[in-house]
Symmetry: C2
Subunit: 431 residues, 2 copies
Amino acid sequence: MTWSPAHPETVFTYGAPQLKFGPGAADEIGHDLAAMGASRVLVVTDAGVAATGWPDRVAVGIRASGLEAVVQASAHVEPTDASLLAAIGQARDAGPFDAFVAVGGGSSIDTAKAVDLVLTDDGQLLDYVNAPIGAGRAPSRPLAPLVAVPTTTGTGAESTTICVLDVLDLKVKTGISHVRLRPVLAVVDPRLTQSQPAGVTASAGMDILCHALESWTARPYTSYERKQPGERVPYCGSNPISDLWAERSMSLLAKAFRTAVRDGSDEGARGEMALAATFAGLGFGNAGVHVPHANAYPIAGRVRDFRPDGYSPDEAMVPHGMAVALTAPEAFRWTFEADPDRHLAAARLLDPGRGDRWASAPRDVLPGVLVDLMRDIGMPNGLQAVGYGEGDVDDLVEGALAQQRLLATSPREVGADDLAAIMSRSMQLWE
Amino acid sequence: MTWSPAHPETVFTYGAPQLKFGPGAADEIGHDLAAMGASRVLVVTDAGVAATGWPDRVAVGIRASGLEAVVQASAHVEPTDASLLAAIGQARDAGPFDAFVAVGGGSSIDTAKAVDLVLTDDGQLLDYVNAPIGAGRAPSRPLAPLVAVPTTTGTGAESTTICVLDVLDLKVKTGISHVRLRPVLAVVDPRLTQSQPAGVTASAGMDILCHALESWTARPYTSYERKQPGERVPYCGSNPISDLWAERSMSLLAKAFRTAVRDGSDEGARGEMALAATFAGLGFGNAGVHVPHANAYPIAGRVRDFRPDGYSPDEAMVPHGMAVALTAPEAFRWTFEADPDRHLAAARLLDPGRGDRWASAPRDVLPGVLVDLMRDIGMPNGLQAVGYGEGDVDDLVEGALAQQRLLATSPREVGADDLAAIMSRSMQLWE
């Protein structure tokens, strides 16, 4: 172990939304909101999800329970301060609301968190943003209930206490982080992901996998110095509860991931992917993620003209899960020495049938499992394949180093040279 | 499978308190309450737990965070309508309070649930009691935050939505059941169980084990007819999440149970038992328990003069966990045919090292594991050993049949004859 705290931490925390899971769950939200005492509800979504008809269907269900419901497609994919302010203004104009429902991916859920926060606590958005960008203000009261209805099996935003946003003027990605931002209820209805193209399932699935694998390998909570209660953070490092979720998520992925990509209409595989996403979210929402997620910020943020299958051809992008995946094999080769047993156990959970794996050098086993999977599901062959070269490494490293909130749970102390080596080795992942 | 619903249930629900776990956690409650916006807090405990000094220590910690705290040892072991009314009256006299903390076993936690309910929702206790005894009234608003600090590793009351009580005039055990009764935060600090005598650890451990095993073998949620949202109950049958908690709880018990009974000062084993108790509570608090728990009500309730080691010599009692355990081997022999694989898997989780087990007839494997464990930890040898004989079987069956709320999650449809056979075969468990 690389850590030897003088007074090791003895306490860990675990928080999660209540959960309703299964086909049909999205039709019951009106009942759930009524039981919370809500009467006038804002449904937040984005234009793409609105086009599927699900947000309207959810609103119809809410009205059937005798509540008012307004739908606003006010979320921007990858929220910015400007997009959040616009969504807040739009909500304020149509308000007041005493409950919120987010139907969509991480962007819709995070937008709803910000709308709920600013409208309920009556402050200025930037005040709540993490210092040093904002003032890191904590909400002074409980927020109105927020129900999250994820339509992408991956983000975990339904389980987390953060809202991620780009501050446009400063060109930085930052967040708002407070335990009150966590949705009170997550409604996971696998029917809502059935229209997902194979490319989206592949990228979103790599996000699930890295949530599980990063929280499973995260720096253990006992390796930190003992915190005062006021110093506790939602991401407390790996612990017996986050381990449980991560392990089960990896087992579900081993069973369902390739099938779900190959055949999007396989209901069993879809259901298992939705469950894997939920479990991984419950785990990393408490333990944290680390190097691959930190690297993903600049990899997605500095995209030039890569246009992935399954996404809009009008926009250059590296989807979040793909951006996370591209440096994962090399990141886990580098973290291996922090806890070899855990890395080997993860490989076994993710690829239980592959006996020949264990002939590799131990450090290469988990990267090998990841690379095989990425080839099978059509991920690009490394950073070069999405448009980066050696000349971009310094920029990418600078962007990753800015994610200190994530790097704080890396199982090894991580510096610029480590990240540069991981980026360089990730240019091409297989021959 | 014995069930073939016309329209199988597709949805399950999962709810849990937030959790803070580890040595030291009980000293941080003031901070947690302040973050919830509380200012004046009632600490509910019972006289026995009060004598350990922990409730006062918790109150001192709360005051150090600038809040007011009042301690009342108002909980009666095995709460009755009379004891709850007395606790409510005592709390009202010292109130108002805007948060509650329960320090103790299931009795203290359930008493605090009732006090919070009646004081916050401003109704009459009996109105809230389950029909037909009471009116089954639902609280009309969210309750004040309740923090549960269990001092007995077993009850799971920190995770459940029920308050169990005896109605004295009617001589029945019933409950109040509503999702709003669930504590918002469970603080599990293994230091608070360190004074537990071996006999208490053994009984409480059997309660944990049966929580895990009964929720793991409970009727699957998919075997019910599809419910309308208003028909959903907190105990929805076994499901992928309750399974996860039950499995891990059984693995922890396999590792730590015998050690914790043998050496109460083994901190590692105590910590693992506390974690096992928490996990089992999170599982059964959603899936439910069944036959052994239903049987435990009359076995404990009709006690004549059994006085177990480790408990007060002044009072005849069959401790709850012991009462649950006494019919467990025979109950699981009877439930075996509902899902043989699951029963064998449980035996493997509970006794992974015992290869010779698997030579038994499959139906006898899990009962054998349980009987061996019960002998090792000093459980009585069957119902005879706590004072019952064949002539008591009809009475015991009548008492168990009254627990329809629990029997509803039995993996096989259960009638009087089934219970009578289980009781009779449980008179003596080993030669």
